[in-house]
Amino acid sequence: MSATAKGRALMSEEAAQYKVPKEYNQAVALQSQLVRKYFEDVAAAAAKGKKIAYGLVEANPIEILRLFDIPVVYPEVFSLQISYKGGALPLMLAAENEGYSTDCCSYVKSGVAAVPPIGTGQTPLGYVPKPDIAVLTYSGCQIYIHWWEQYHYWTGAKIFTIDIPYVRDYERDHYVPRHDIRYVADQLMNVISQLEQLTGIRYSEEKLREILTYTADAWDHWRMALEMGKRVPTPLDGYFEAIYYMSLITLTRGDKTTADYYRFLVDELQRRAEAGIGPTPEEQFRLVFEGVPNYPYYKEWWSLFKRWNARGVAGTYPKVAGVVDYFRFNPDKPIETIAEYMIHAYCNWNMLMRADLLKYYVDAYKADGVVIHSIKSCRSFSMGQGDFKEYFVGMDIPTLIIESDHVDPRYYSEAQMRNRIDAFFESLALRKGLK
């Protein structure tokens, strides 16, 4: 066991097992309840014969689909949930049996293998219907296109495409050409007219504004919640807990319940801060996280950090549904604001902007170091993360790279992971003069 100069334990199993007192941890329970309800509502809608859309986390135009009363299933979300509940391996094997390689994104494999014709739709989460339409929002991930094509060829689902240009001008930071916004906005109008035909519901800009007002409210509170990570000590884990909190901003944005949820979250975190409560017994290390988490061993993996009383102060993954630090919704320009939202998904930012965002987090959130979780089957996130490390090390920012997968449990080695993480904290402790 590692100890401080004063003999106090730097690392402890009690810290690893620590749970935030219930009265300060109601937002997690509430989000689980709301997510469960969301899954039940979708299954009930499918049972009544309603047309089901599949949507993607990055850049999903949920406000528009709400307008047309179309229930949306997010295969990324059901895949991660299945994995979290320990049910991914049979789906990996079923997909591989159909010709998918071990090198394919494991979201795609579980997403395709869970529903007919490969699977039955019965999952540890309940029934997941197959898609009637698949809304392809090509933002931040090229594999989205290939994934949606799989659904098309396996199930006959019709693809509604929205092409979202990458934020790609290396000479001008954050520069988005006008032709990009116009192109996305034009495509949104195109999808709207297709949805009008499909549902018989007429498009109402006024109603869309109303929906977006709830979205903007939820979005602002979501940002306030995450920015609490700037406090020293931080009342929340801006990575491990934020990943729970981000479900609703993706799944159910645009209604009062979701907006209320994020107010509730901000209140709870405020109460935590006032009571001096946080995600670990104390705050010894402050970390910024880059990358998708390990879902199959989520709690075990988190505990490897908790046992060092380390808290995530900020993370990039909770920004996949939009870089909340940077972007604000403007309900007065409904189509344009949705177009801009779709452009500013984290992985749709170029690598220079991604590295700068991480550097900003290190500075603004007073972090001790960066942890990069490089997942093997997601190259959108992972390709070039080694370059981030070289960049940060060049600026004397301690950086750890660890590898596993977000869904496939076969890529997780607890012993190896523990050794790497422990060695990182040992050197951080030395650097902070804790030893």
């Binding site: 090509y138 495409t161 240009p165 990458y166 116009r182 495509q187 690598m351 390709m383 370059d387 490390k389």
Partner: protein, 390 residues
């Protein structure tokens, strides 16, 4: 002797082989071209790039196709992940070790997440280099895609003009398009030759001839290519008893030539996707009033499938069925670069169609630096024997 005089004096195949081998790491041919002509160099990553735009602005557009195992990966090992394809890693190594320094600009397009991120990390490590990333449209069935791509090509022009000191001139662009159309015609003629009489043109000659088109000035290339094809068409060689194989998956990373030779021992590889971009684009309409729009339409209205470009109106399964029928294919060889997800997903889509049609296929994965090909040869041989002997 100047570089161009030297090139003119060489047999086409000798020149094609020489520039191909030089392009694995050194690009010394292009460096000399730049020194002697004062022109500008633009390096572009696969799969497709609108070469006439760069050409009309005084650039020599050069396809960067990875180091084919001829460079030790050192910097790339630290900066890129181990689970990405080898073309991206070796291209990073080439850039990081200064082998691409004489290129005035590097261009990438949205073929996959790996190439996309590669463009960014090259820029971060080479901040003075102009790195252009073009987002090519995927929603090509809507009219807005054309306006968008037109503006995107405009952005490319804005990046390139200050480097060459030339302004885009529509007449010059028209002439460039005509030259690249000639290149396309010749490559198409070679493609047809391999479909009809593959025994006349061995794979490695075909490959050198294709790749040289991505490395030489187009004016020189069309001249050499014309004489090369004239010679090949006059050859008198005997057809062998081999099955006809369609090769899919090699559209970006380059399989090692010895691997392809080993495959060719077992079968006629009548069609493949090697250096597919310039072949895929087809003939650009020279009669279109606005030549930039002609280039746009050649891309957006192209209904031939390309793994790295989505088009809502394309049916990939129907296309492979037609290909198998039209090219009288006995078997399909999926030749997939290790870790190349686009190829891995298209494999499943196409395999489903082949299963329905009872067309035999095999899937092999490759890496740039591979040196043993025996297993691959045996796999294809076994398949060929099962077809020939029932």
């Amino acid at each position: 002797m100047t570089l161009l005089e030297d090139a003119a004096s060489k047999e086409p195949l000798e020149l094609f082989r020489e520039v191909t081998e030089d392009s694995y790491v050194d690009f010394s041919w292009q460096r000399r071209w730049k020194e002697e002509t004062g022109g500008r160099l633009l390096g572009y990553f696969p799969v497709y790039f609108p070469e006439p735009i760069a050409h009309s602005l005084g650039f020599l557009p050069v396809n960067i196709l990875g180091a084919s195992g001829y460079i030790e990966l050192e910097k790339a090992t630290a900066h890129t992940q181990s689970f990405v394809c080898s073309i991206s890693r070796s291209t990073f190594e080439l850039a990081a070790t200064g082998h691409l320094d004489h290129f005035d600009a590097l261009a990438f397009t949205n073929i996959c997440d790996v190439a996309r991120n590669l463009s960014g990390i090259i820029k971060r490590n080479k901040p003075d280099k102009t790195v252009v990333y073009l987002h090519m449209p995927i929603n090509n069935a809507v009219p807005h895609a054309k306006d968008y791509l037109y503006a995107e090509y405009g952005r490319l022009v804005e990046k390139l003009e200050p480097i060459s000191g030339r302004k885009l001139d529509m007449e010059a662009l028209r002439r460039s398009i005509a030259l690249y159309n000639e290149k396309w015609e010749l490559q198409h003629r070679m493609e047809q030759l391999r479909i009809e009489r593959p025994w006349l043109l061995p794979y490695d000659e075909y490959y050198y001839a294709l790749r040289a088109g991505q490395l030489l000035p187009v004016e020189l290339y069309v001249e050499k290519m014309r004489s090369f094809l004239g010679e090949v068409e006059k050859r008198d060689r005997k057809q062998q008893d081999k099955i006809r194989v369609l090769v899919l998956g090699d559209f970006c990373e380059q399989p090692a030539l010895p691997l392809m030779r080993a495959m060719e021992d077992a079968a006629y590889l009548v069609y493949d996707e090697a250096i597919i971009g310039p072949r895929w684009i087809g003939r650009v309409n020279e009669a279109e009033e606005d030549p930039l729009m002609a280039l746009v339409k050649a891309y957006t209205d192209n209904l031939r499938p390309l793994t790295t470009r989505y088009h809502p109106l394309i049916d990939k399964q129907q296309h492979i069925a037609e290909l198998v029928k039209d090219l009288r294919i006995d078997a399909v060889l999926f030749l997939v670069p290790k870790f190349c997800e686009p190829a891995l997903y298209d494999f499943v889509i196409r395999k489903l169609a082949l299963d329905r049609m009872h067309v035999p296929y095999v899937k092999l994965e490759y890496e740039e630096s591979e040196t043993t090909f025996e297993n691959a040869r045996m796999t294809l041989e076994t398949l060929a024997e099962s077809i020939i002997f029932g």
